[in-house]
């Protein structure tokens, strides 16, 4: 059990000195009582707190209307789907499930650990839901109802269909291969004609329905393309698969010795794997946008004309309304502060970690978090008009923009397909008109050309490289979410960094100052322990053994106060210094000089080296930040970045990246904040550190772990290597076709030759791709 008395038993926050007992507040104490009464205090033994997640601190409960989201079923049960915010570790999911499932009315309470959603099914009416939600929110989690049907029905259905196709193709491949191997062995061992025919018939019986079923995604897309007089990769694949199956069937009917059902289903199986991976990556982006909008608050406290407070749905808030925002609450609409002063955490919108002090008259935006004191806000824009909704829209449209990127294979196809089909057609007419063969023979030879050119190697050339390269990156702690990103990455000639959290580690640290009095530091650190303000925490962390100071009061937007001693902003302590650009705290004591504590952000350890390496590889490096100019200048100078832009908002970043792309550059964006998400989606390719906001991680193509920034240059190197291998593979596939097609046209390709050529070409392509798996790994100490 957690016996450390200096932190709250429940939420783990450091206890202020004023607090007595084990908890930091009433809410935590109540939550602990609920857990204790249920006999589940073992939860605290298992709990592994995740500093990146919202702490488990219960907020004052706000009743809200859940009836709209509850679904009533015919069998007398009702269900509700909720997104859970604040899950620290698997133990939290366990706690929620156990507590809920002990309620007699609840039939199912299950948390999906992968996407942090809770599904509740109970016997009874919609009204029960409020009590369940209140119970869980009382523990410190935050629940947001959502409609699963609207969120991911379409995508889920498509993915499930592809997985079913994959399963059927896999089943057919394994069984047909089993039969084919015995037939191949039989060619040597003298298998009887009747047995061979039996094997062929069995293969046909398995392969044909499987091809019809598992080939649907390709056939459908090919048909759509042909109908619009276009062509895509699926056209030659469909023709190849169908032609192979048809010729094998005709061989089987004519008791021929050779059939190729195995190559048709194997090709389908491998291609389907690629499709499934691709679709899953795209699904994550949509999930990100949905999550972003669910950040919107569910209910708001509105002030009526007579000054009374009422709860209102977010959708009912209109410009001109006045809303109350309690401390710890997210602001629901854009507006202007009418009364109150507080600190705002704007990191969601600007990515800057330092809270901003605001007072009456200041503009606030939906999505900002009110940290220290209640505010009254006059609404200027709500719902779809807020900045937060704007960011979600920007991200979606930027994502669509990038969706127009044409993959290498798709760019080659318009040259490849007509050539292949012309060759097959020419073969048919040559043998029919010039050589006077019967049409069956002519058709057989034309089909042989189609099969030889069936894009086995071409279809494998790129996916095999992508699989090998992403395996390589994965072992370095770099997750490649969309395989096509490798292609886009290889051509990158501009790398754009965000500042806070990307070039830097994203948390302030106390600057060393030789003139500073040690006593002052100890006193200030002791006072700072009472606050959760990031600068105060950095100060406390700089002097961990400082004695705790009692009776500290926090003055919102100003600082901390103990009797006559003040720790806080420059103006509040009465400093006459010029405004400086660094984040800072001041300590004032009667009878002493003022003491200044300056903070700086810490660069990632190898930021400068990585920037230099990228520049060495011919990339232009830029720094885009939402921060003020001097801070950006200083950071850029330290890393050796010449091109820097300060005070960029999300729209500005997207526009700037758009301009770079319009001038023909390929842009890699590296960023971590929610405010970077649109820019990440707008760039040709994007990377996020794994410490980034969820939204940024989902918007990015590549996520890297660890404090080191060298992942960026390593990924670029692997991508360029992969690009080279892809071209080798393509060149090989073309050479192979150049050699084999004339033979096929001439009618000289015997079936065993065709089989050998087909499998050897695929094998060579795959082996070549595997060379990538170990590139650059040996040099790196693990």
């Amino acid at each position: 059990m957690d016996s450390d008395t200096s932190t709250c038993r429940h939420c783990g926050a450091p206890l202020g000195t004023g607090a007595t007992g084990l908890f930091c507040g009433e809410g935590c104490e109540r939550a602990f009582t609920i857990i204790d009464k249920a006999g589940l205090t073992a939860f605290y033994d298992h709990l592994a707190r995740d500093p990146a997640v919202r702490p488990l601190r219960p907020e004052p409960h706000q009743p809200r209307d859940l009836a709209l989201n509850v679904k009533l079923h015919d069998d007398g049960t009702a269900s509700l789907d909720l997104m859970v915010d604040g899950l620290q570790c698997p133990a939290c999911g366990w706690l929620i499930e156990v507590l809920l499932s002990r309620i007699p009315e609840i039939a199912t309470a299950r948390i999906n650990h992968a996407n942090r959603r809770l599904r509740l099914v109970w016997r009874g009416g919609a009204a029960c839901a409020a009590a369940y939600v209140e119970l869980i929110e009382g523990l410190g989690f935050r629940l947001t109802p959502f409609d699963p049907a609207r969120l991911d029905a379409a995508l889920g259905a498509e993915l499930r269909d592809l997985l079913r196709c994959l399963a059927v193709a896999g089943f057919a491949m394994a069984n047909v291969m089993l039969l084919s191997v015995s037939v191949w062995a039989g060619h040597q061992g003298g298998m009887g004609g009747a047995t061979r025919d039996l094997m062929h018939w069995l293969s046909a019986l398995i392969a044909l329905p499987a091809i019809l079923y598992a080939g649907r995604p390709f056939f459908r897309s090919a048909w759509r393309a042909v109908r619009h007089r276009r062509t895509n990769m699926d056209v030659p694949i469909s023709i190849g698969v169908v032609a192979t199956a048809a010729m094998s069937l005709s061989e089987t009917l004519r008791h021929g010795p050779y059939a190729y059902f195995d190559s048709a289903v194997t090709l389908l199986f491998f291609l389907l794997i690629g499709r499934v991976l691709d679709l899953r990556a795209r699904g994550r982006t949509r999930e990100a946008a949905a999550h972003l909008l669910s950040l919107g608050v569910v209910g708001v406290t509105r002030l009526k004309q007579d000054g009374q407070a009422e709860m209102a749905a977010l959708s009912a808030v209109r410009p001109g309304d006045r809303v109350l925002v309690a401390a710890g609450e997210r602001i629901a609409a854009d507006g202007r502060v009418v009364s109150g002063c507080s600190d705002l955490d704007t990191s969601l919108l600007t990515g800057e970690s330092q809270p901003v002090a605001i007072e009456a008259g200041a503009l606030v935006f939906a999505g900002q978090l009110n940290l220290s004191a209640p505010l009254t806000v006059a609404v200027t824009a709500a719902g779809e008009d807020t900045l937060l909704a704007e960011i979600a829209r920007l991200m979606e449209s930027a994502e669509n923009e990038r969706g127009r990127y044409r993959r290498l294979a798709d760019r080659l196809i318009p040259f490849y397909t007509p050539l292949v089909h012309a060759a097959a057609l020419a073969t048919f007419f040559y043998w029919w008109a010039m050589a006077g063969e019967v049409w069956q023979v002519c058709l057989l030879r034309a089909v042989a050309v189609l099969i030889i050119t069936c894009p086995c190697a071409l279809g494998l050339a790129i996916p095999a490289v992508q699989v090998a390269a992403s395996g390589n990156l994965f072992r370095r702690g770099i997750l490649l979410k969309s395989p096509a990103a490798l292609e886009r990455l290889a051509g990158v000639d501009r790398v754009v960094f965000d500042k806070t959290g990307t070039l830097t580690l994203g948390r302030p640290e106390l600057k060393a100052d030789p003139d500073r009095d040690e006593m002052a530091l100890r006193l200030a650190a002791g006072i700072a322990r009472a606050s959760r303000h990031p600068l105060a925490r950095a100060l406390a962390a700089a002097c961990p053994d400082a004695p705790v100071v009692e009776h500290v009061t926090e003055v919102p937007g100003r600082g901390l106060e103990v009797g006559p001693v003040r720790l806080g902003s420059r103006l509040w302590v009465g400093s006459a210094d010029d405004a400086s650009t660094e984040p800072e705290l001041w300590l004032s004591r009667p009878g002493f000089k003022l003491v200044r504590f300056a903070f700086e952000e810490t660069l990632r350890p190898d930021a400068a080296r990585t920037v230099a390496r990228l520049q060495g590889e011919g990339c232009r490096v830029s720094l885009l930040s939402g921060d003020r100019a001097p801070a950006v200048e200083a950071m850029a100078a330290k890393c050796g970045i010449e091109d820097r832009r300060a005070a960029m908002d999300p729209t500005g970043k997207v526009r700037w990246i758009g301009q770079c792309r319009a001038s023909g550059e390929q842009v890699l964006m590296v960023g971590d904040g929610l405010n970077d998400a649109p820019a990440l989606a707008a760039a040709d390719v994007s990377m996020s550190p794994s410490s980034a906001a969820d939204i940024a991680q989902t918007a990015a193509d590549i996520v890297f772990q660890g404090a080191s920034l060298s992942a960026v240059s390593e990924t670029l190197a692997v991508a360029r290597k992969a690009h080279a291998v892809i071209w080798q593979n393509l060149a090989f596939a073309v050479l192979y076709n150049l050699a084999a097609v004339p033979l096929a046209v001439a009618g000289r390709v015997t079936p065993p030759m065709a089989a050998a050529l087909m499998s050897s070409s695929s094998l060579i392509v795959v082996l070549n791709a595997l060379r990538l798996a170990g590139v650059g790994l040996r040099r790196k100490p693990s």
Partner: protein, 54 residues
């Protein structure tokens, strides 16, 4: 060759069982949450005290 008449149906049957199993698990949503099961085995079911009411 009569062995084939037994072995091939056997092989096909086993394959079908695997396929049916996969399709069933897909339908019953076991691929929706790949982390949950791995996490859940870490926790014992707590002794059920009296039913907890809200």
């Amino acid at each position: 060759m009569t062995a084939l008449l037994l072995l091939i149906p056997c092989a096909l049957l086993l394959g079908f069982i695997g396929l049916a199993g996969f399709l069933w698990s897909l339908r019953s949503g076991q691929f929706e949450d790949l982390d949950g099961a791995a996490n859940r085995i870490l926790f014992d079911d707590p002794p059920v005290k009296e039913k907890h009411h809200v």
